[in-house]
Each structure stands twice: as C-alpha cells, then as structure tokens.
C-alpha cells in the first residue's frame, strides 16, 4: 500500500513517545501486521531506514510480527485459521464469520534508550 508514508507516521508516533519519556534514542520498534491490513512487511522494512533517518529512531531496528489470520464462526462458534480470500468457517462452511485476527497494523511497543545505557544504542 503506502509503506513509506505509513513508516513516516510510525516514526512520528515513535518520536513522540521517545520525547515524552525523555529518551535519547530508540532501540527496537515492534509492529504487528496482519495479511488483511493492506501493509506489505517487506516494503515496510525497505522504507523504514529512509523514514527514520535523522530522527531519534535513526539507529533503531524494526521488528514486524505477523498476525495470524483467524475467524470466529457466528453459526457454530468455532475459531479457525483462514486465507485472505477464504474467510468462511473451516469447520462448518458458514460465511457468517467475524475476523478475530489478521487486519491489524499496530505499533505494539517501542524500546527506549536513556542516558545510563548509551552502550545499548
């Protein structure tokens, strides 16, 4: 989708968090991305160094956790694994399902580096 602009908004959020906590720099930035989020993890990784350059996150590492694709059936109540173009219940075949995981593009956590531990940068 728009991985560079998404990276820029990610870096804005990370910067804000780092400034709020008075951190000198940022270590690990962890995202959770699902297959139905519209975000392509490899493009996100490529864009990240360009978006983070010159910010407190310049030397940080982006970690992308892949969220599994799961649906819960409203008919039989079973939770099953799904595919992006096949979101029906794998147990009973009903198309009345709710996505319980798989469309997230979420900033999960940020590792901040403070003065005492500059060797962690």
């Amino acid at each position: 989708m728009h991985e560079l602009s998404l990276c820029q908004s990610l870096i804005d959020q990370v910067q804000q968090i780092a400034l709020t906590h008075g951190a000198q720099s940022v270590g690990l930035v962890t995202l959770k991305v699902g297959p139905l989020s519209g975000v392509e993890p490899s493009l996100m990784q490529h864009a990240y160094p360009f978006a983070s350059a010159g910010t407190l996150a310049a030397k940080s590492t982006l970690v992308i956790e892949l969220a599994p694709l799961k649906v819960r059936c409203e008919s039989c109540g079973t939770e099953t694994e799904a595919e992006p173009s096949w979101l029906v219940c794998a147990a009973c075949g009903s198309c009345h399902t709710q996505l319980v995981s798989g469309d997230e593009m979420m900033l999960m956590s940020v590792e901040l580096i403070t003065a005492e531990g500059t060797n962690h940068v």
Partner: protein
C-alpha cells in the same frame, strides 16, 4: 489527561509506563499506524453528522462506471434529495464537470500522483465545499482497488462497484477492498449477454468467501436499468442516518467494525 505529554502517568502506574532497565525501556503502545488519518476521519464524520447528511464513499477500479452511476442517481433523485459530490482523480476536472452538468454541486480533488484520498485531503475539500442543505454526499474515490480501502475518510458507508467487463474473481483478488464493502454493485449489467466469462453468481460467491453478507445488486446506469434497488438502498440508508443523528450516534463503514465511535450530535 492525554497520552501524549505524560500527564496520564500516575504514581500507581508509573512502573508500567516507565521502567529503565540498564538504560533501555520497553513501552507498550498498541496504536494503529493510521491513527492520525483515523482521528481526522472522525472529525470529518462529525461535520457530516452536523449537517445530517449521509456520506458515501464510492470505490472501484478505473472505468467501472462510478461517475455514470452518479449521473443516473442525480437524475433519478432530482426531485427528492439534494446531492453533492466530491471527486477524486489524479488529474483533470472532467468528472466534476460531468456532475455539475447534471445540476449538482461538485468539488474536484486532484491528488497529483496519489492513488487514493485520505482524511486530510477530504477535510481540506470540506472547507471549500458547502455542505449546508445537502442530503447525500458522494465521495468518488480514485479508481483503484488497493489503497483507498485502507483510508477512512469519515464516510458512513462504502459502496464498491464491479463492472461485468472486469472479471468475476475480483473479490478474491482484492479481499482487503471487497471486505470493506457495505454494498456491492455489479455495473454495466446490460453487457452481460455479450460476455461469456462473467458470472454474477460466481462474483457473489467470491464475495461470500470473504465472509461478507452485504447486498449485491446489478444495474446498468447509462441505460437506467435496475436502478430501483440501489435508489431504495440509498433512501433507507439516509433514513437510518437521520435516525442515528437524532439519537446522537454515528456509524463507520464495515472496514472498521470494531471501532465504532459514538459522539454527541452537535446542535
């Protein structure tokens, strides 16, 4: 209290919020990457609700007949509702001119090279486009089955067009887009007898495989065929929107099912 300046950190939660361990601290965030867009979209939706109008985002591939659908809809509802249109295209004022030629107000957003509208572009447009007196605002998104799906503009409903010349497997190929639909329109249906490779039943089955239970309708806007169910859907959606506004509620399209934000209707 907010979560930007640190004023939400209290003595009792400080250890969770800020815990230096050898100079490194992990801070849990749990924030959507599109949070800034989504905040703006909520603001736009408040504008729409203040004017008691129904905002509909039309999405499809280029050339599937979004503008033709709007022309036919404006003609059909001319004596019933006041309709306004915000058009999104990379270049040209062509679509806005087609809408104005039908006597409806239109504003053209030219995105340059951006392949979708976002909530900020929409907000800028709202400052140049009077909403007063409108019953229905259509937002004709940039023709694209990928990016527009991810950007909430503040609309209440998403309508996705699939023209019968495109292929009935489009919902399977573009699941992020078709999952976002509140209504799917199979357009140019007058061409079906000429096409041996498009099955409306297969298109609908591919949509159902995405766990979508939304209505699917066939129509041919330029021939004014099959418009009635679409017009009835609009009438009932507008009635529902008016009822929601009366209760001080609002609604988001299907793409954010878990994030329905309620707010007080401004008076």
């Amino acid at each position: 209290m907010c979560d930007t300046c640190g004023c939400n950190i209290t003595p009792s939660n400080r250890e969770f919020a800020y815990k230096p361990v050898n100079g490194t601290t992990a801070v849990a965030v749990l924030k959507n990457l599109l949070a800034r867009n989504d905040d703006q979209a909520i603001h736009n939706r408040q504008h729409f609700d203040q004017h008691r109008l129904l905002a509909i985002n039309l999405m499809s591939s280029p050339g599937s007949g979004k503008t033709a659908l709007l022309e036919a809809t404006i003609d059909a509802l001319r004596n019933e509702y006041r309709i306004g249109v915000i058009e999104g295209d990379l270049e040209t004022e062509n679509d806005a001119e087609r809408i104005r030629a039908k006597g409806a107000p239109a504003h053209q957003i030219t995105t340059g090279s951006a392949c979708h509208l976002d909530a900020h572009m929409m907000h800028d447009a709202l400052h140049q486009f009077p909403l007063a007196g409108l019953d229905i605002l259509f937002i004709e998104n940039v023709g694209n089955l990928v990016c527009p799906a991810s950007f909430d503009l503040g609309q209440h409903r998403n309508v996705i067009l699939l023209s019968v010349t495109e292929g009935d497997d489009k919902p399977a190929k573009y699941p992020v887009m078709f999952r976002a639909a509140d209504l799917v329109l199979l357009t140019k249906s007058d061409l079906l007898p000429l096409l041996d490779d498009f099955s409306p039943a297969r298109a609908e089955a591919n949509l159902r495989n995405l766990a979508s239970t939304v209505p699917v309708m066939q129509l041919a806007a330029r021939k004014a065929l099959g418009l009635q169910p679409w017009l009835d859907w609009l009438r009932s959606e507008l009635a529902r929107q008016r009822a929601r506004v009366g209760r001080g509620e609002t609604v988001q399209p299907r793409m954010q099912p878990d994030a329905v934000h309620l707010h007080e209707a401004a008076t």
